[in-house]
Symmetry: D2
Subunit: 303 residues, 4 copies
């Protein structure tokens, strides 16, 4: 069934295989659990083409941090979660020395569940212009990473693909690492605002909610790309077909029925709609702050 | 089935009766069609208790303006639509002389589909403070209505019911008409951002998306209340149960199956989610402007 | 000269007396200095009518916290400063038991230096609706104060005085303490975004920038009022006349020249203008967060 | 005196010459007056190096539209003013055929008087992505210009010069015309929100308020650049020195006194401050809409 669903989360693709236990060739799944903070982390590593084909994802690492508490308004939870994000971010950076980091906040500032990227940028500690003014000595003395950032906006606002804007900026400012932050689409309502995905394979903005944007990754930009994503919406067609599937499995009906039905739905224009929680504004505010903190503390020791 | 669905639109309740043609006792349905602008208007008038019971709505007038073009970005469409809203608004005002109008923009400014009310207030021509300063002669000379406005915010932001704030303000500023503007929940995706409902029965804020707020109407405030609503979201549980219903009707299954299934869904917490289009920011911006224009031109001739 | 200047800070009135050392009858001035965090606090207490007349301020306590570092973007500075605000806030609350606190964020959300109040509200922990739902046991178990909040907007947006809206809400929700947060006008550029004034005498919104709003204090509302203010603007006429005064004192000219000149300025409509720093957005964001933290930690132990 | 003042308006430089009537070599000044709408237009054309040196401005055309009514909230005034802007914009475009226009909204969205550029972008009709999807036939059939747009943000937000971002985008999307919209600094309070400057010489962002950004013009970008600017602030040091100058001229003092005094002021850190009106939010909202309308109607006939 995983062909018929739309998700940005590698973990959900992995889960869509009937026997969860089964070994998929070329794919390694590792799990870690922080009991104290109730944070579960799954690392899906796609090693080769076989794994990439099976997972319908690029070769690389996909780290999924699940923190159910992430969605409640407990201030004190921000620190351990941001520490965890910071920790796994560093496993993707490995021991590379990046001297010029461009952070990109994808999404539409004016649509609440899509504003995650821009709001992360708003809380970021920007240093490139300061370093340009005061020089490298100032930089190393203050242990600053060289950080610049942009919220390019969405195509309806700019008429341009995000990747066009980013590639242009790269040519001018020559970053050696791009960190892309974006709101994702999940298959499951349970995952909304409780999950952070980190990957070194970049991102295909809005793919999760049915848009077709060009990918932002090493092959399209020529620069290492780390993507940070949080599922904030579920595609409406997905939620309908998923609940329907549960129903039909319970009453064991034909797959054919479902396929045809999902087409009906799409004609019903549900498929230009997304599903999001009523308190999405509070979630976006809290989570964007947590991710900014993780990035700020990460950058101040990158180089 | 209409007991199981959540909608703020009287028209959708009317439609939920099997034989659309049938005469419902105590309910008069009138239709008008503006072919040139493709604007269809239905006036549902609930005359007595019998009709109120059948419709599960209060006695009063419900005017539903359907303008499919309302949702496309044609600037030129704003004028005829705002004229139409203005015209039917006046049929609710009848020939009463209101001398002090308070406009209330309900909803959460920070959640795009819920921001309709506050954005209408932002475009409103406010006059009460000017009249207080320059007096009634200035008012009549400039044919001004006495207009004040407030966006009280939602309970999660204020800790108060909208109706508590409004009743308090009424005690201080003594308006003789309250106009409440709010984003509504529709049963059907087709209706989103293409429909305006006007009613002289007031409003029960957020009822359409499953919140329980106290009603804002004549009996709760002691003042005439006209409500202007636009459906901007569909309740997620509703969209799932509706599409499922279509499916089951096609394969004629038991109603019992559906009831049980909808309960499953609610346990799945879908029922704290709403469905909204991806370009909701543009729709809210355009429609709030149209409604403001209708109100501005209406007030300047009220008194 | 202090008759000719506009300031919301009692401390600046005190300073406007020629010999700073002199004893003003009915006014007690106390100073405290936190060397570690470089926070200087002055407590001006006006004891009687004589002091009130001399200071042109109401009888009561005026606490001015000066923290020059407040205006730089050092995250770590937020905690000690918010602790200090919290501490002096409690000296104004004394040992009274408030069971229902209404926080009012005055000012215009759409004018950056005036958005302090609304932004403090945005970061506040609101509990009244939760306590209403889960009851007093839940409240005491979680050591919650009963907190509600509102950002009423400015008269140009609502057509109403802020005090009208607040008095109305008081009648409905019966708070026993009102905390008003507002952006103030200072006489001196040095004070902008580096000073917090706390007082138990309430506030006269916008007075500092030349508007005439009705006061929000115990006598106008019947409820205890504590005001928290931060100077974010200097009145343009003030800055011109002050710099001119320096100049003239240096070249010792006639006071008459100045009076006449300041009138010229006002005719030049400078007097509808305010002066604010270019990075006001960052200051407002940081300071509103600090004040919210102080209030949140204060309320959770009020009752 | 004009060496000591900061202004983005060529007209104010022209005016700073003692005898307004005098002929400046290499500079042509033309005036037009629309009596009906009370719109006065001055065209300053700098023909050669001599004029450029005298005016301290680049060779090119500077069109200043003065519309005192622009600053009052009369809705009906939007149309004639936007028509006027459109008309003079076309005199700068001359009969060139531009097929790919990039509009850049400079400034800080979060500082009200600096938000003009981003707010113009928000109201712009963006077509590039539509044309890319539906092709040139669609474009010519609908008489669309190819329009893309970006609000790059300010250096404190991005760590990058606006010109770096723009040059990068140019390399990717190859526009043949750049239109830059920015809030300007005026020397005179009277000019605030009542003046629009159009020029084919580009812009030096923020120069008017004392920042040092790299210029955005043909020589820096390799593309024709038209700049649209509206003065929304006066530099605080300028307002003080100007009012002081009036004063001193009245009492005829030494220029030396003034020079020294202005230095004092700058040390007083007034020079990081700007002056703006209290209702700046309404002005920005109204004027950005007017400029967007002018651009929208201009682009739909460019190519």
């Amino acid at each position: 069934m995983n062909k018929n669903i739309r998700t940005d989360l590698a973990l959900e693709v992995r889960e869509s295989f009937e026997q969860d236990s089964v070994e998929i060739k070329g794919v390694i799944l590792k799990e870690e659990f922080d009991k104290k903070n109730d944070i579960r982390t799954s690392i899906v590593e796609i090693k080769d083409e076989a794994g990439a084909k099976a997972m319908e994802r690029d070769i690389g690492k996909y780290i999924t941090i699940e923190a159910s508490k992430m969605n409640n308004s407990d201030e004190d939870y921000n620190k351990p979660l941001s520490k965890t994000i910071n920790k796994y971010l560093k496993t993707l950076i490995e021991n590379k020395e990046y001297n010029n980091v461009l952070v990109v906040g994808l999404g539409n500032r004016d649509v609440t569940p899509d504003a995650l990227g821009p709001e992360v940028i708003d809380n970021l500690f920007i240093t490139r212009h300061i370093i340009n003014e005061f020089g490298d000595e100032f930089k190393s003395k203050n242990k600053l990473g060289n950080v610049s950032a942009i919220s390019p906006g969405v195509m309806a606002q700019t008429g341009m693909e995000a990747v066009e804007i980013i590639k242009g900026i790269i040519k001018e400012t020559k970053p050696d690492l791009i960190i892309v932050v974006d709101a994702l689409a999940s298959r499951s309502v349970k995952r909304l605002n409780t999950t952070v995905q980190l990957t070194n394979t970049g991102i295909s903005p809005g793919s999760g909610v049915g848009n077709n944007r060009k990918a932002i990754n090493k092959s399209s930009t020529g620069v290492d790309v780390i993507a940070i994503g949080v599922p904030t919406v579920v595609d409406a067609a997905t939620i309908v077909s998923d609940t329907l599937t549960q129903y039909m499995e319970k009453f064991n009906y034909e797959e054919n029925d479902i396929y045809q039905f999902i087409n009906d739905i799409n004609e019903n224009a549900i498929f230009n709609m997304f599903v999001t929680p009523k308190d999405i504004d509070e979630s976006i505010k809290r989570i964007s702050f947590t991710i900014s903190e993780a990035l700020n503390s990460c950058f101040s020791t990158i180089s």
